[in-house]
């Protein structure tokens, strides 16, 4: 791992290097032990005539597991420390270095904010990812979110996930007008604009601070075919049509009725024959469902479990889509192979078409 240069403070950088190291240890050392323990407990249960078919069955197996308690503790508290340590946590450290923040945001960029936009109640009710003040709470929130995202995909190279997402999009065709919903700080939006240089790309999100960072980065990178606008994906207020609508990691932050509304808005905004690709998390494996439901609780993402339980294919069809496909997505080569022993998100691309 190259030395971090997130901050001017070497101490703060060293602290976040440690956080990433611990997070990686949790994912590649502790998690495989937990999986082994699961297999042992499942075998013992089978010998006693108990079947393990649901995430609730798995929860019962782990109800007295010390290893699982440590697994949970580290997942919850390494994240908490990353954001909220009084010493070098992201929120405090970024506030301590206003010149760094000002430098990142000074480029400005093509951004249309909506001062009247009120963030949805379900969004404001939780500090998602344990981010104090949430992803929209203050001017630094985009920078805090971006820095935090560095340590969520152990073993995956920086930008690899988003580059592979672009590869997936390319396989679905060439696109001239692209909308990226819930675009955050533009992690996928800017690569989309790079990948389709003749396309017009628009990113929308409810968080002004995230959009400000996205727009500044796009301008600094001299990406001219992208713009950003503050809007709620459920009802964007847009009156233009797109031939591709995407999102990455948006749906699991929405309650079921908001997922339905977002799919309806996706369909409304697509031109006939247009394609929708939402990248999120799906799993049919009860062990992984148990792990992800717990992740949602520990990481303040209360709608993750409802999304995984939701019949998404039916929701898409109800919203008027056809050719709905839900495909596993590998954030790095081989990551979605069942033999991969490491912790990861069970990514899935939900690809659908609006009837021509």
């Amino acid at each position: 791992m190259a030395a971090l240069t997130l901050f001017r403070s070497r101490e703060a950088n060293a602290f976040h290097e440690l956080v990433m190291e611990v997070r990686t240890w949790w994912a590649v050392q502790l998690f495989p032990r937990l999986r082994e323990e699961y297999e042992v407990r499942r075998t013992l249960a089978a010998q006693e005539g108990r079947r393990v078919q649901t995430p609730e069955d798995v929860a019962l197996l782990f109800s007295n597991s010390t290893l699982y308690a440590y697994f949970c503790w580290l997942e919850r508290h390494v994240q908490k420390s990353k954001y909220s340590s009084s010493r070098w946590g992201l929120v405090a450290q970024i506030a301590r270095e206003p010149q760094t923040a000002a430098e990142r945001l000074k480029a400005g960029g093509p951004l249309e904010l909506d001062p009247k936009l009120r963030v949805p109640d379900y969004y404001a009710a939780h500090d998602i990812h344990q981010h104090p003040g949430n992803l929209h709470g203050d001017a630094n929130a985009g920078l805090v979110y971006e820095a935090s995202a560095l340590s969520i995909h152990p073993k995956t190279k920086k930008n690899e996930l988003h580059e592979r997402f672009i590869d997936l999009v390319r396989r679905e065709g060439e696109f001239a007008k692209v909308l990226d919903m819930g675009c955050g700080f533009g992690k996928s939006t800017v690569p989309l604009a790079h990948a389709f240089p003749r396309a017009e790309v628009l990113g929308v999100d409810v968080s002004g601070p995230c959009l400000a960072l996205a727009a500044a980065d796009a301008k600094a990178a001299k990406v001219s075919n992208v713009r950003f606008r503050q809007a709620d994906a459920r009802q964007t207020g847009l009156n233009e049509k797109f031939d591709l609508v995407t999102s990455t990691m948006l749906l699991h932050e929405l309650p079921e009725e908001a997922v339905d509304a977002t799919l309806a808005e996706t369909r409304r905004l697509l031109a006939p024959g247009g394609v929708s690709i939402h990248l999120d998390f799906r799993t049919e494996d009860p062990f992984w469902q148990f792990i992800m439901y717990g992740h949602g609780q520990r990481n303040n993402e209360p709608f993750l479990e409802p999304l995984i339980r939701m019949d998404l294919a039916a929701a898409y069809r109800k919203a008027g889509f056809e050719d709905v496909r839900i495909e596993p997505f590998a954030e790095r080569e081989g990551a979605s192979d069942p033999s991969n022993p490491f912790w990861r998100f069970p990514w899935a691309a939900i690809i659908a078409r609006k009837p021509a």
């Binding site: 070497r10 060293a14 440590y70 503790w73 954001y83 340590s85 009084s86 010493r87 009710a125 104090p132």
Partner: protein
Amino acid sequence: MKSTDPVVGPQAEQIFFADPAIDRLIGVVFALTAEVHVMRDRLSLLEDALQRNGIDVAALASAVPDGALEARIATDRTALVQHVLEGLSGRLASKS
């Protein structure tokens, strides 16, 4: 023995062990680990710089801090104690 402490306020942190004292204690261990790592990182940088500038690093073992350096060490000690022990509070730092 399971703790019978009342939950103080609406911001009670999630508990993963039968005794919440364990949850809090690991927080202390984690913070200490971070402190040690950051200090060792700093020490390595410092010793490398000193050695490259002809200073005998081994002689630092018997040095006595005074004046501004002594005050700086005291301030750092206060922040270290706050960091290491804040995990004991059992309180959330975010809304949920």
